[in-house]
Symmetry: C2
DNA sequence: TGTACATCAGTGAACGCGCGTTCACTGATGTAC
DNA sequence: TGTACATCAGTGAACGCGCGTTCACTGATGTAC
């Protein structure tokens, strides 16, 4: 590798780091080419040797944020024994919240208001599924461990959506036969989790919940209970404990 | 009232309308004083006779958005017979979603990423509670109609938050003695509702749920069932039906 | 190893925009006597 | 009702910024013979 190629890689990394820092401290609106050039002691025009423009930089950061979140949650969840399903589930919830609090602007970049004038390209879709995948995995493990055949029916109006999700689940090597109600409970969990985190970051619990750590834990427990409750036979066999 | 005072009021209204239109079509970032001046065929400086600056305009729009949302939902909910609690509950969910879809930028202004450099002042707090209030009211009605004494316990870690919420509930003339678990179920409902709407607006259901109307209805039904389930005696008396 | 040529990083300047806010001033409207 | 004065809406210009992107050019690095 030539010195030039090395310098090139190094500078590109420095550029992305600078962009990341600006995003973290000022949000997506603070991501300005001229500002980054100043940060790097370089003329604005120089940046265009490394990146096609502001949009490409945004795309890189979007992917980065998804991957950072997924990686953080994956690592935390991997630390919990495989059989302790509820703890794994809880860990995902809690870790998503903690990552979001520690990376507010990155979180807003991916889950907040779309950046005006920026359309996320296709390459951001795959990295976006990290957290969902984990929830699906735990849910799938629960089904494998305790489910069998019968379960609550899912609404017909969502049949098409459910088969789309089933295809996605299969593509990721998980058990296909989990009942629709269980799949929906998983999607619902994801909805509530991101709702809670988004509202907390937006300061919308100002008049109500202040102990948000306890709140998210409560939500996680309740959603896990709801997940279990979709497995009809499980409910019949053992009631609502654990 | 003098002609001048009338003209003043009229222009102020025109200014706010123009701001609203810009917000609706371009989002909060499109709200620029100079642009509004152009929209109104007036010099930029003239606007400062009517408004102290961009921030005041934003505040007006934030309050406007909260009130428009609350009013829309209130009107829809008021059309449902008082005793049909589940339908009232469903109506709130569905109407919030519909308002959000029809007013994407207004929704993002209040529930999306905070506008950089803008801090919402205290006067925006009261109008923000419209939807929560409605959910609380239905929940309170449910308690009055069917609850009594005993219910699931709420976690101690949230006791303080619960008493803050109880005080707020009292201040709005609702029944005070609803159990903590029920109050939490109501907050959870609000969390899930805004989560679902936010994720839909952000395009995060692209690979999973497409029939979002059916999905929100499912969530609403499930959350109503969960709300009822927190009333222990109710559950014991009648099971999970209705 | 040395020379000739090709590649390419970074500069400096420009293009063509945009913004929020202030302020001296003009001319119309309103008020008091 | 008429005049003198006060109020105030809106102008036009300026202040002091900012932005993304392009492009001819310089000078250093790399490559082929």
């Amino acid at each position: 590798m030539t010195a030039r190629a090395e310098a090139r890689d190094a500078f590109r990394r420095r550029l992305i780091d600078a962009a990341y820092t600006r995003l973290a401290t000022e949000g997506a609106a603070g991501l300005r080419m001229r500002q980054l050039a100043r940060d790097l002691n370089v003329t604005p025009g120089a940046l265009y040797r490394y990146v096609s423009g502001r949009d490409e930089l945004l795309t890189i950061l979007v992917i980065d944020a998804y991957e950072s979140l997924a990686e953080t949650v994956r690592r935390a969840e991997a630390g919990v024994p495989r059989t302790e399903l509820e703890r794994r589930w809880l860990t995902v919830w809690v870790t998503v919240r903690e990552w979001a609090l520690a990376h507010r602007n990155e979180y807003q970049l991916i889950y907040g208001t779309p950046v005006p004038g920026y359309e996320a390209p296709a390459e951001t879709i795959a990295p976006a599924s990290g957290v969902t995948l984990l929830l699906a995995q735990i849910s799938s493990d629960l089904w494998t461990a305790r489910g069998n055949g019968a379960a609550d029916p899912a609404p017909v109006s969502l049949a098409e959506d459910l088969s789309r999700i089933a295809a996605w689940v299969v593509a990721h090597g998980m058990s296909v036969d989990a009942p629709g109600a269980m799949v929906l409970a998983t999607v619902e969990a994801w909805t509530t989790l991101l709702g809670a985190v988004g509202l907390e970051l937006g300061g919308h619990f100002r008049g109500s919940i202040h102990n948000n750590a306890a709140y998210i834990e409560l939500l996680a427990r309740r959603s896990y209970a709801a997940l279990r409750a979709t497995i009809l036979n499980d409910r019949v066999r053992e009631g609502a404990d654990v």
